[in-house]
């Protein structure tokens, strides 16, 4: 599809990615185990209210590898929050496959679900107030998941780890403050520390920078990247923020409950010897061969109802259905 070369936004992005992959490989026990950390296949979620059915996910496919930092973008109502709810174990899909590590999210017993939340995943929500308990200090908030999970190491051990994590995300100086005494950015960075308190393999963040200004958002995202690189945690961020989408290697777009397209940024050594990021956008083909055309493509050729497909040796042609095949050719 399209490929554009761009100046690296964060010069060390490629390095960070490599480090994250290395850490993830260490945790998983080998590079060959990196594939398919999160797998969604034909995921369907239907809400029923008073006899009205709303299909929030209609056969979504997604594979995320260990140590990846992935952004999921999509318009309001596209189903990205539903996806995140399912992946967090807060919601159960109606049909399909949803697997995170060795956890099958369709059949989680209460005990499994608990251990999933305690050992496998961490969450960050958009509302800063939802991430932290208002009556606990930042450090106590970080200690809370460890206590709930009954982590060993004793009080002192938990305290030390909490302080380390806060330092890692850059808010060590606020350890003894309550959320009310923190700025929005500080709160979200604390939330990041809370989310990884139990050393999860996956971190889900739902619009973590949604309520923040650009600069603060960048700080929070920096914290996420640090966590990804230093701890090898797979990070999935749902966001609207184009700035965020530009800071990750892989961006997955969801439309109408399906994965529509993907942007991958790869680092390569340019002609001048410096690293540059190459951003390529792909449409996603599902197992049964379905794919969505990007909206601008559809609009540009006013494609409607039917299209013609031509199989060429190295590509597939898509042409408007109401024209003769030879009148106007366009590669899609």
């Amino acid at each position: 599809m399209t490929a554009t070369a761009e100046q690296p936004v964060a010069p060390d992005l490629a390095a960070l990615q490599q480090r994250a992959a290395a850490r993830a490989a260490e945790r998983a026990g080998g590079r060959d185990r990196l594939r398919g950390h999160i797998v969604c296949d034909g995921l369907v979620r239907i809400f029923k209210t008073e006899g009205v059915e709303v299909v929030a996910l209609q056969g979504l496919d997604l594979v995320i590898d260990r140590g990846e930092l992935v952004a999921i973008v999509g318009a309001s109502g596209s189903g990205k929050s539903t996806l995140l709810n399912i992946l967090s174990g807060l919601d159960t899909p109606t049909a399909g496959i949803a697997r995170v590590g060795e956890y099958d999210l369709l059949n989680l017993s209460t005990r499994r679900r608990l251990s999933y939340r305690r050992d496998m995943v961490g969450f960050i929500w958009q509302q800063t107030g939802r991430n932290l308990l208002p009556y606990l200090t930042a450090r106590e908030n970080v200690e809370l998941p460890m206590e709930l999970a009954g982590r060993g190491g004793g009080r002192r051990g938990r305290r030390r780890r909490a302080e380390e994590l806060l330092e890692l995300v850059g808010v060590g100086y606020c350890a003894d403050r309550r959320p009310g005494q923190l700025s929005g950015g500080e709160q979200q960075r604390c939330a990041v520390a809370v989310a990884v308190a139990n050393d999860p393999q996956v971190l889900f963040a739902d619009e973590p920078t949604g309520e923040l200004d650009e600069a603060t958002g960048a700080e929070v995202f920096g914290a996420l990247r640090t966590i990804n690189a230093e701890l090898g945690v797979t990070v999935v961020v749902v966001t609207h923020d184009p700035a965020v989408a530009g800071q990750v290697r892989r961006t997955v777009a969801i439309r109408d409950g399906r994965t529509a397209s993907e942007v991958r940024r790869t680092a390569r050594v340019g002609a001048d010897g410096g690293t540059e990021l190459v951003s390529e956008e792909y449409a996603v083909l599902d197992r049964s061969g379905r794919m969505q055309l990007p909206a601008p493509f559809v609009e540009a050729l006013t494609l409607r109802d039917r299209v013609r497909l031509n199989l060429e040796p190295d590509h597939v042609q898509v042409r408007p259905g109401d024209r003769t095949p030879d009148a106007d050719g366009s590669d899609a």
């Binding site: 809400f47 029923k48 209210t49 008073e50 009205v52 709303v54 709810n85 967090s88 807060l90 919601d91 209460t110 608990l114 939340r117 305690r118 969450f123 509302q127 107030g129 939802r130 991430n131 308990l133 208002p134 009556y135 606990l136 809370l144 998941p145 206590e147 709930l148 999970a149 809370v194 139990n198």
Partner: protein, 902 residues
Amino acid sequence: MLSVGAAARRVRAFGGQFLLLAVLTMTATLLVSGVPRLVNWYAGQGLHQFLADRPAQERDLTYSAAPLTATANGTSLMEAYRSDLETIRAGMPPRVRELVAQRWFSAQTEPSRVVGRDLAARNLTVDLGLRVVPDIREAATLVEGRWPDRGPVPSGKPVQVALAAQVAGQFNLRVGSRLTLKGPDTPGVSLPPTPIAVVGLFAPRDGGDGIWDALPPLLRVVEPLGDGQPFVGFAVVDEAVLDRQAAIGWSLRLSWRYRLSADIDVRALDQILAGLQEMSRRSAGRTFVQGLDVPLRQFIAGMDAARTVLAVIAAGTLATLGGLVLLATGSAVRRRRGEFALLRARGGGPAAGAGRSLAESLLVVPPAAVLGWLAGTLAPGGAGDTLGLAVALTVLVTLALPVATLTAPAEVTGRRDGLRLRPSTRRLGVEGGLLLLAALAVVLLRQRGLESGEVDPLLVSVPVLLAVAAALVAIRLYPLPLRLLSRLAARARGSVAFLGTARAGRAQATAPLVVVVLAIATAAFSAVVAAGVEASRDRAATAVVPGDALLLGERFAPDTRTELERVSGVRVAAPLAEEPAQRLATDALGTDARIGDVTVLLVDAAALDRVVAAAGRDPGLPRTLVTAGPGGPAPAVVSPAVAADLAGAGLAGSAFATVQGQRYEFRVTGQAETFPLLTGGGDRFVVLPWQALPAREYAVVPTGFVLAGEDLDVARLREVGTEGQSRFQHGSAVSARERNLPVEVSTWTTVRRELGEGGPNGVLVFGFVAGAVGGTVLGLLAIAFTVLAGARARGQVLSRLRTLGLSRGQGRGLLLIELSPLVGAAVLTGALVGALLPVLLNPVLGLATFTRGTPVRVAFEPALVAGVVALGAVALGFAVAVEALNNRRLRLGEALRLGEES
């Protein structure tokens, strides 16, 4: 994080919620601990008053031994028997024993004929008994002479006796009088007469002292029962005298009398009654006489009825408190839903939130419960056995928060706006089941009645069930007219009415409304029953005194009426003549009609009607009596039983009733179950209009008058009545020996006051006041909850509408329109249930105990409507105030996305 410190921190963080929970818990345990004490205290006061109003002799327990003849072995019988005073007491059941305040032993001979010069001088026939009263020297003072010598009577000397001064005066005896006492008439035995010398006269230090209450009395002479019968009196002698008399064969009567204190613990009444029964069964050869059990049973019956009413009120109040606790916990859990979701997401187990809630509850609820309980113990009166209830309540309230946390949906997924618009089938099923259950409970209760003396769980649950059922119906029904109204309002000008009715018609607050209805129903029940009892007491008093005062005597001179009307303040007097136990006749000659005895009441109905009008009472006089005039058989009102008998004998058109020897013809023109002035019981009476009777030479004279007037001087009325009575006695052809006939004057006010005094009335009034006030206060609190439950949604709408140009005034109007149906429906439903409850429960409540048997009619009270309207207005004002306060806190109008955190 289950440490105490952390829990305490959370309690502080959510201080308001926990304060509310603590206050509710405290109120509940305060009520559970304090109310039974207050009830016991009021009941104790009532019992004390009740017993104090009755003669003290009722509290006497008397053992007496059958006449006993001693063997002559020289031992002192008196001493031996006197010591039994303690033995008997020790053998009493403990509850009775500890009440014994005073005790007396006495021994006496049977009164036998006494003769002497001083008696003969007055031509008196006297029987005299000799009595030993051990403590008389402390209880009486000598007026003249000395006390009889102690020790054995020297042979040949007369027996020394002391007499009460009044008795001596009546018998014409003085110190130094010599008498001869004949032996009692014992068949086959001839006992020698005993010479007697009066050596002293005494007067009681305190005539009311229980020592003088032994029968026959020592201080008075017993008047002869008929012609040729003797006067009977008693003289005091030394113990040795009776020992000697017994030795020579006189039979003695011994009595051990115990007076119980009037300070009886209400809680021990049952045990005391059981004790008395046991004493009657095991009197060990002695005769046991007591009169205490009847009034005590009477009091217990009243108390039981009061307790029943109180139980209904208490159940309503406690259920309301329980509902408020549920609302409080529900609102706390709603507010902290995000926190619990976070806990779960962060790896908290399913019970993590509940565990933390439990820790918080344990920190707050039990201490509050203990505080409430302790505060309750400050109330006067003995403790009730409600500790178990308090503990159960505390446990329930403590568990309420964790359970609510556990059952609350952790995370709401999907759309919330579509919820609750239509109730689910399951919900409707549950509600229908509840309605059915309430109806069944009412039917069952009415069919089964009550077990007296216990708090019936069915009775207690019926009002709560009924209120809840009514609330559910109201919740389903009240939006319907609103939706219709909103359709109409949509066409009208202005948007406020439409918006208000449209939103009110889709209101979602159900649970709080149930609690409001419960609270208001409790208040209304208290008020309606109180009003019903008050009105019935008014009627009961009016039935006794259908005017302002009633004068009753033997017979009055006819001109007494004019004399009475001359007394200042009296406006009208109506004469009446009552003759109980008369035979009806079929003709003027007096041929017996062969139907049962009747009470005949002659009343000047026209005058009585004026009296009734002047006094402003409504005893329901039959108009046929009032308008009756002379000529033909007098139109009479008779009781249904008599009417049936007369009709059966074919005498309904003409029968004859006798009053003071005069026979009057009457015909039955009306029937009445009861008639004022005839409250002495009995369902057989004939009432004749005096003004319609033919004039006779020997006219019937009045036996009483009903008066109307202001500021009546009771003493003056009695005086005039007594004069009228003596004029009748002297004015007739044959003047009898003047008898000391009392004239009874009772005023409506005193009769009415007596009806509302003493016995269980204190408890009842307390219950009504507490129920009405408590119900109202809790109702307002529940309304605050109702308002707050929907405040967020309303605030959001108002906030959005503000941005669309809604003015501040229109906002207030919208609020008022939205809240009035909710508050109105709640208050109205509560009042309806409260008014309906007494009607449904009246047969089992036994309220007639409080009106001396006059059945309590719970009727529609116009005052109730006014009260409901006032309460509704107050509630609405309160609701608007709560909402306004809440809106100010939410900074309404300043933030656009109010309360939309997600």
